[in-house]
């Protein structure tokens, strides 16, 4: 794909910029687009994976254009390799910028992870040690992305299965430092907190209590799978293949009690359900979100009592 082709085909910034509404959104799946448009689904926003729209034209762009005419979107990159030890792929960054110019998303986000090394793209969000060296690298990369696209990005906390011996920063402090040094904001994935906390043996609530939540502009919620580690202990896998579990809903409420109402996204990328099921999950998040407003506290408690 050639970035200039894309730009010449679609006028820059056809869509007005809006803030993400403080509501639940869902990750956009091609198979849901017809249902969404036909039912004029009442959804706060849609999040798209940038890489899925890096082709030159055709159905993906036609669908996204229709969605964008009716809804705000959040652009979520999964392939920038912000945490990589090498350089950011300039061509990839240019394609990323082109998408931002065309669709004018309300939020732009990426991950604290790497996926490319020596020109090979591993198609996964891989973990990094938390050291002064990696901190400097990550900040340099975020800096570069923000300079090229000309706007702030949000960085998401990872779910991980291993830790590195050389890590001398805690993840929470690492996240706070990258935000402080690069000026980025944070995307808080509650399921990732639960997955990592279970996998590495700490309390998710402690992580949430220590997290720089004042920098969080969007929340992610997802389902996970259960496996076992080398000792037969529980190992959670960030599979995005089912409903959000009760523990994560509870941590979501805890998070909102500290952040205040924040745009929140349901991610369901594998074993993709029907639109009706996904919509129901978003409604569940919406209900919790509404109750997180300070003046709805009594309403929240009365609803809880009757539930």
């Amino acid at each position: 794909m050639n970035a200039t082709i894309l730009t010449s085909q679609m006028p820059t910034s056809r869509f007005n910029s809006t803030d993400l509404p403080i509501r639940a959104g869902v990750g956009l799946k091609a198979e849901h687009v017809d249902d969404i448009l036909q039912s004029s689904a009442d959804i706060g926003f849609f999040e798209i994976h940038a890489e899925n729209y890096m082709g030159a034209g055709g159905m993906p762009h036609a669908q996204l254009t229709k969605i964008r005419e009716k809804y705000p979107i959040s652009l979520h990159g999964v392939g920038m390799s912000i945490g990589g030890s090498g350089d950011i792929d300039a061509e990839h960054l240019a394609r990323f910028k082109t998408l931002i110019d065309i669709y004018n998303p309300s939020m732009v986000s990426e991950h604290l992870a790497w996926s490319t090394h020596h020109d090979i793209f591993y198609n996964d969000l891989l973990p990094l040690p938390y050291t002064d060296e990696t901190l400097a690298k990550v900040v340099e990369h975020i800096d570069q992305v923000q300079s090229v696209i000309g706007r702030q990005i949000l960085i998401e906390n990872p779910s991980t299965y291993v830790t590195f011996k050389e890590s001398h920063w805690s993840e929470v402090d690492f996240m706070a430092q990258i935000a402080k040094r690069s000026g980025c904001a944070l995307l808080f994935d509650v399921n990732n907190v639960f997955v990592s906390a279970t996998n590495h043996g700490y309390k998710p609530a402690d992580y949430i209590n220590a997290y720089p939540l004042h920098l969080v502009k969007e929340i992610h919620l997802a389902g996970h799978a259960t496996d076992s580690d080398d000792h037969g202990e529980k190992l959670l896998i960030d599979a995005h293949d089912r409903e959000v579990c009760e523990d994560v809903w509870a941590l979501y409420k805890l998070t909102l009690s500290k952040t205040g109402p924040t745009p929140s996204l349901i991610e369901w990328d594998n074993e993709v359900p029907t639109w009706a099921t996904l919509e129901l999950e978003a409604k569940k998040a919406d209900a919790i979100l509404i109750n997180s407003y300070p003046d709805s506290k009594s309403a929240y408690h009365s609803q809880k009592a009757t539930a």
Binding site: I5, G55, I120
Partner: protein, 288 residues
């Protein structure tokens, strides 16, 4: 664990720098025979193959799935077990070089062609070429196909001298094998089997958003081949009529429009055009 805990590592052995760390990590991802990197695993750095295995699995499975999504006909023809084996090998030999997964698998037809165990199934190469073309057509930039009204503006003489601009989505897959019937394996396996002695050709086009496949016999494939190579309509028709009495110029022009294989026309006044087909064209043209 949660709060900043600088200098908790009392490691006597210096940890590798980050470039080496990512090199070790990534080498072990695609090579299950390699040990998992030292210092990566549990909290104290104890190697934990099962934990590291989650990443190995994520990478390899997601890439195999991506290849299967790009080549569903091949996967269905080969069967799950065979495809998994071949895909695993492909993934290790040709991992993606870009985060644009739309282009992952572009070396697959050639890979199949050069794979010794598949030497006795050369038809797979043509099916893979067709699937690669289908995916390219799906993602390529939008272009308006030529319509009949535009074509009707030309006089019969001019029409014979027209050449066409190929639509960016158009691909012609010529084959000695029943490539169309085999390509259909992506939908469902044909009940009556496939006549492997039959030769088919496949025209892949995307006039608007949906990708179309059109099965063509030798004569019509040759006609499209000439048109897509920039030959004049007159020459393409003349050659096709020489090839077969059953070639119907009107139907060929009709197909050219319906499939959306071309976008625009150009009158080539300098070219010597074979006008002997003119009357027949005019007659057929009226019926399209």
């Amino acid at each position: 664990m949660i709060r900043n805990s600088k200098n908790i590592t009392n490691s006597k052995e210096a940890a590798p720098n980050y470039i080496i760390r990512t090199s070790q990590f990534s080498s072990a991802l695609l090579n299950p025979d390699l040990e998992t990197p030292k210092g990566v695993g549990e909290k104290d750095g104890t190697p934990a193959p099962k934990r590291f295995g989650v990443y190995r699995n994520n990478v390899v499975v997601s890439l195999i799935e991506a290849l299967k999504a790009a080549y569903p006909s091949i996967a269905n023809i080969m069967g799950e077990k065979n495809f998994q084996q071949i895909a695993r090998f492909y993934v290790s030999e040709h991992p993606p070089r870009s985060a644009m997964m739309q282009i992952f698998g572009s070396e697959f037809p050639q890979f199949i062609e050069n794979l010794p165990p598949l030497k006795n199934a050369p038809f797979l190469v043509d099916v893979a070429r067709a699937e690669k073309a289908w995916l390219k057509a799906y993602h390529t930039h939008d272009a308006k196909p030529l319509n009949l009204e535009t074509l009707r503006k030309f006089s019969p003489e001019e029409t014979m001298q027209l050449t066409f601009t190929t639509h960016p989505a158009s691909h012609l897959i010529k084959s000695k094998y029943p490539v169309n019937d085999l390509f259909d394996f992506r939908n469902e396996k044909p009940e009556n089997g496939v006549d492997m002695q039959m030769s088919q050709h496949l025209l892949i086009t995307r006039p608007h958003l949906s990708v179309f496949t059109t099965a063509l016999n030798n004569t019509y494939a040759n006609f499209f081949d000439l048109i897509l190579r920039g030959e004049t309509l007159g020459n393409a028709i003349g050659t096709s009529l020489k090839m077969s009495d059953e070639f119907d110029a009107g139907q060929a022009i009709s197909l050219l429009i319906q499939t959306g294989a071309v976008t625009s026309t150009k009158v080539n006044t300098n070219l010597d055009t074979k006008v002997h087909t003119k009357t027949q064209i005019q007659n057929n043209f009226k019926h399209t």
